[in-house]
């Protein structure tokens, strides 16, 4: 696909949770909870304001209001601020400092005074009915020439448990929203820039990690198309596909528009009640529906059923709009007869509406008010198909390229000041004092250069959660190779085997490194000790279990036994028996003693048997000439 030719323009909005002690506008911890731990729940309605529902008619508005009874789960880690029962605390300074650090990393300009705003969100995910958000800095640079527009500090929304139930643990966790200009030109570039921004964010060491802690929204348009925002792409690998999928959709919809116009297609202004036509229907949905309405789409035949994305048709777009009124979906004649609706019923429907084969009829069913609302929504979306592509917010469907309609794109119109939070002045000295951390990419290069790590390992370490531990270990003299191997490979392998190593603290691992470095424990024992610690043992107990300390006498006796059992082999090979015997001793000593000590002792034992050389061996088991 020649993306330049079709005029692809894309931008990113990246939302990253910050790892602060407290939430953005209250003093609750930023921890997520299991919903089973909730200690109370309550119910609220949110009322739409005029401008938010300006386009809906009165009946629909009231219908939607009646539906908006939300349930919220509260915990012993949430407070009255999340409940919208107490005014917000002042803007969290720690979060602001992290946002400024990120801004500085991107070369942005801070605003002189940060003003917290209320952005109306009435889907229930915020108990207040708005999300608090503040613009912190503007105009950043990205490698490759694209620009950053802004960075905002926002409160995270409540986690949706089901349709109308939300969990308050997540509400209020600070997050930064970073918006690029619409200057990305290919799907791959969008993905690369998202990856780069993610790397910069993690370089601060002060952002949350794990599923759901970073979300990417992608803004996409093509020439002749419209700006569409795809919400909440959680995996980097899906970004390029999401862009490709949206391009495909917009191209298909533009082609449909052209064909509709050439056919002189039209949407009939009235819908028709056709309930009696289906009194004997085999369709369970229609049979139990109190009201069935038909929308007549003249000359739309064949196009409503045409695929625009994998598994998605123009009909799916009509259905998405209809579902806003609480109906389960729609039927359209491009896909009928099916679902229990017979050929005969379709014919009677066509006769009743005086429709020809070239027309499409859409059926919506349900309570009368809902059905009427849905019919109007279908007409609205069908009319938009004649104009082009509506500006929309959409959501990803699974892991493919396809998306579904969420809501119209919001404008700047839904913002007003959060008067309960004072503005925060940012002075030049405060900005100067913000320390810029080393980028993870730069850090990885440094590990290759200064510590001699393999580039892939260096990158793994630099990007890992244990980077702080690695730096601390190396700085106190732990061998980089031991630390890197443990952190980049051992932990990962154990995790892959289903061992819960995430619970082992950095401090314990550092202490483990110290044991190895001092010779108390062999590095070969690290995996077993970690495994035991993951099972809940303390470091001391784990070592005791895996590698109980061995006295010098004990080791001496072990080596003596092994050498005597293989006396003939030793006599035959002499000092060359050292290598093979090392493995045997090591297997028995099970990492309790450092290899160097074993080698030295084993060398002496061999010498005793061969009657040979009583001269001392160095730690490598090589001879040292005493006279030398």
């Amino acid at each position: 696909m020649d993306y330049e030719a079709i005029g692809l323009k894309a931008g990113l909005e990246i939302h990253q949770q910050l790892d602060t002690e407290e939430k953005l506008f209250c003093h609750c911890p930023t921890v997520l909870r299991d919903i089973k731990e909730r200690n109370s729940e309550f119910h609220r309605f949110l009322r739409a304001t005029v401008s938010e529902l300006g386009e809906m008619d009165r009946a629909a508005e009231e219908e939607m209001m009646a539906q908006r009874r939300f349930t919220y789960y509260a915990y012993d880690t949430t407070c009255l601020v999340e409940d919208d029962e107490e005014p917000p605390a002042p803007l969290n300074n720690e979060a602001l400092e992290i946002a400024l650090t990120i801004a500085k990393l991107f070369g942005m300009t801070p605003v002189e005074e940060v003003h917290t705003m209320r952005k109306l969100v009435i889907d229930g995910s915020n108990t207040t009915g708005f999300q608090r958000t503040a613009l912190v800095a503007l105009h950043g640079r990205l490698p490759g020439g694209c620009r950053l527009d802004s960075i905002c500090l926002e409160e995270e929304a409540a986690q949706r448990v089901d349709d109308r139930t939300f969990s308050l643990d997540r509400l209020g966790i600070p997050l930064v929203e970073i918006s690029t200009a619409p200057c990305l030109r290919t799907p791959e570039e969008v993905q690369e820039v998202a990856e780069y921004i993610g790397m910069v964010l993690r370089s601060t060491g002060r952002v949350k990690r794990g599923i759901g802690t970073i979300r990417q929204d992608i803004n996409i348009s093509i020439r002749g198309g419209a700006r569409v925002e795809i919400k909440g792409v959680q995996e980097l690998d899906l970004i390029a596909d999401a862009v490709k999928g949206e391009v495909k959709r917009q191209l298909a919809l533009l082609a449909i528009k052209d064909e509709l116009l050439s056919r002189r297609a039209a949407v009939m202004e009235e819908f028709r009640d056709v309930t009696p036509l289906f009194s004997e229907t085999g369709s369970k949905i229609l049979k139990k529906a109190p009201c069935i309405l038909a929308v007549f789409l003249q000359e739309f035949g064949g196009l409503v059923g045409r695929e625009i994305q994998p598994g998605r048709r123009l009909g799916s777009e009509l259905a998405d709009y209809a579902k806003k009124c609480g109906v389960g979906g729609i039927f359209h004649t491009d896909e009928l007869p099916a679902y229990g609706i017979s050929e005969g019923e379709i014919s009677r429907l066509r006769v009743e509406l005086r429709a020809s084969e070239g027309d499409c009829i859409v059926l919506v069913a349900g309570e009368r008010e809902r059905a009427e609302c849905a019919a109007r929504q279908v007409m609205k979306r069908a009319k938009l198909a004649l104009v082009g592509i509506p500006e929309e917010t959409r959501r990803m469907l699974g892991e493919g390229e396809s998306t579904a309609y969420l809501r119209p794109l919001p404008g700047a119109a839904r913002m007003y000041p959060e008067t309960d939070v004072f503005p925060v002045r940012l002075t030049p000295p405060e900005w100067e004092a913000i320390e810029v951390p080393e980028l993870l990419s730069v850090r990885a290069e440094r590990f290759v250069r200064d510590l001699g790590l393999d580039p892939a390992v260096a990158r793994q370490i630099a990007y890992s959660d244990r980077i702080g531990l690695f730096e601390a270990a190396v700085s106190e003299g732990i061998r980089p190779s031991v630390a890197a191997r443990t952190l980049a490979s051992t932990l990962r392998e154990l995790k892959r085997d289903g061992i819960k190593v995430d619970g082992i603290g950095d401090r314990e691992i550092l202490e483990l490194f110290r044991m190895v470095e001092s010779g108390r424990l062999a590095k070969e024992a690290i995996p077993s000790v970690l495994k035991s610690m993951a099972g809940g043992k303390s470091l001391e107990d784990a070592i005791q279990e895996v590698a109980p300390p061995m006295t010098e006498e004990g080791l001496e006796a072990l080596i003596d036994r092994i050498v005597r059992e293989r006396e003939s082999f030793v006599r035959e090979r002499g000092r060359r028996a050292l290598g093979p015997l090392m493995g045997v001793v090591m297997a028995e000593a099970r990492g309790r003693v450092d290899g160097k000590v074993i080698a030295s002792m084993l060398g002496r034992a061999i010498d005793r048997i061969t009657g040979g050389d009583e001269r001392r061996l160095n730690t490598e088991g090589k001879r040292i000439d005493e006279n030398a």
């Binding site: 309605f45 009322r47 005029v50 300009t109 605003v111 105009h139 913002m415």
Partner: protein, 411 residues
């Protein structure tokens, strides 16, 4: 250069780029500018360049039709905000007081009654005073005399209980007088104002016949409680269910959104009381909370007062060194009423020596009166009576349900 006015389009430089936006206001030498993204930022006012005026956007307002077949109610506003509108161009929130504006914001009200809106004052409720109570009492009286089925008073929540109990004494009436407010401002989608207003309208057309406060019963939008004006207290600074009945159960409930209403058996019913108006109040009255160790000479500041309500410890005590000074106050013509800072329970100054000494000094036992209600009542009684015995008798007699004859088990 043109001066920036609220709504002017302005340009300013941030870093190496020019930004355009709308000038909102000045705050401490700094301009607040709304950028095209909708965000406000603060910026040095000297760095603004005015480009021109921004176009006015006029929201098309829906027409409001009132049903002439429904009973008429009056909505009287004192400054509490039940409806407001946001100007998204500047972000300004304006309070709405006309009946049309209130009904546009809360259309559900139109199916309960038709309304006539009156504005008595536009004050923050902490600035409420006797003069405004009196104006409010006259307005309520006139509306009831005109024949309305009920009166809704919109009031800031901080002093709503004081005003409601003052109106209880000033305007005995055959119809419901319902006070309502909001703990969350009306401009937010989660505001409790709409539900409280709707429930208050249900109460205003109901069979109730006394002054009440209608507010959220719990943190949920599930039901409102109807509280007796003389037994209600704001017990939380910010929660929706801040208003609690003390010493009695609520008069009733209005379920939401079904609007099903239930009334308890002990309520005063519509038509039981005749309409009258007695608005005189003695302004030289005070309420004093005693704390251990408080020097008795503090009371010297109360010489010349007509009435003093003391919120004493426990059963109704103050330090014994206060007793002689209180005696002097009473001898000087001040009526002193004892209440308890426990809020729950009844004063009894016959149990311990200090109490007996207070009684001997002439202190009136305030029964289970809430301290604030005792103050309002004392001020109202002293507006008409001065004789110590008559004042004492009236203070200890329940006139508007403010005193419970029995302390009910289980509350």
């Amino acid at each position: 250069m043109m001066r920036a006015l609220s709504g002017s389009r302005v340009r300013c430089r941030v870093g190496d780029q020019d930004l355009e936006g709308v000038y909102i206001t000045e705050r401490e030498g700094r301009a607040v500018v709304k950028l095209s993204s909708g965000y406000n930022i603060g910026i040095d006012i000297a760095r603004l360049e005015v480009i021109g005026p921004s176009p006015e956007t006029v929201l098309p307002l829906a027409r409001i039709e009132q049903d002439p077949d429904l009973p008429e109610c009056s909505i009287i506003s004192t400054g509490g905000t039940i409806a407001s509108r946001i100007d998204y161009r500047t972000g300004a929130v304006t309070s709405q007081f006309s009946a049309e504006d209130i009904l546009r914001a809360i259309p559900e009200l139109t199916s309960i009654a038709r309304y006539n809106a009156i504005q008595v004052s536009t004050i923050l409720s902490e600035n409420m005073n006797i003069a405004i109570w009196q104006r409010l009492a006259h307005a309520i009286h006139d509306e009831i005399e005109r024949g309305v089925r009920g009166v809704i008073v919109m009031h800031g929540t901080d002093t709503m209980a004081f005003t409601a109990s003052a109106i209880s004494f000033m305007v005995p009436a055959p119809v419901p007088i319902v006070f309502v407010g909001a703990q969350r401002s009306a401009d937010r989608p989660s505001s409790d104002s709409a539900m409280n207003a709707i429930c208050s309208a249900v109460a205003a057309v109901s069979g109730l016949g006394e002054v009440s406060v209608v507010m959220h019963d719990t943190t949920s939008d599930d039901r409102c409680a109807i509280h007796r004006a003389t037994r209600v207290r704001k017990m939380h600074t910010s929660r929706r269910d801040a208003f609690q009945s003390i010493g009695i159960p609520p008069l009733g409930y209005v379920e939401y959104p079904s609007l099903k209403m239930t009334l308890s058996s002990g309520v005063v019913r519509r038509g039981e009381r005749a309409l009258s108006l007695q608005t005189e109040m003695e302004p030289r009255c005070a309420l004093l909370l005693f704390a251990p160790g408080m020097p008795p000479d503090i009371l010297e500041g109360y010489h010349g007062m007509k009435g003093l309500v003391i919120s004493g410890t426990g059963l109704g005590h103050v330090g014994s060194d206060w007793v002689p000074v209180i005696r002097e106050l009473i001898d000087g013509g001040t009526h002193v009423v004892m209440t308890s800072q426990c809020l729950h329970g009844r004063v009894c100054d016959r149990v311990y020596d200090t109490g007996r000494d207070l009684l001997a000094a002439g202190v009136i036992e305030g029964e289970d009166l809430l301290p604030e209600v005792a103050l309002v009542k004392l001020s109202w009684i002293l507006g008409r009576e001065e004789g110590p015995e008559e004042v004492s008798r009236l203070m200890q007699q329940s006139l508007r349900g403010e005193i419970c004859r029995r302390s009910i088990h289980g509350l």
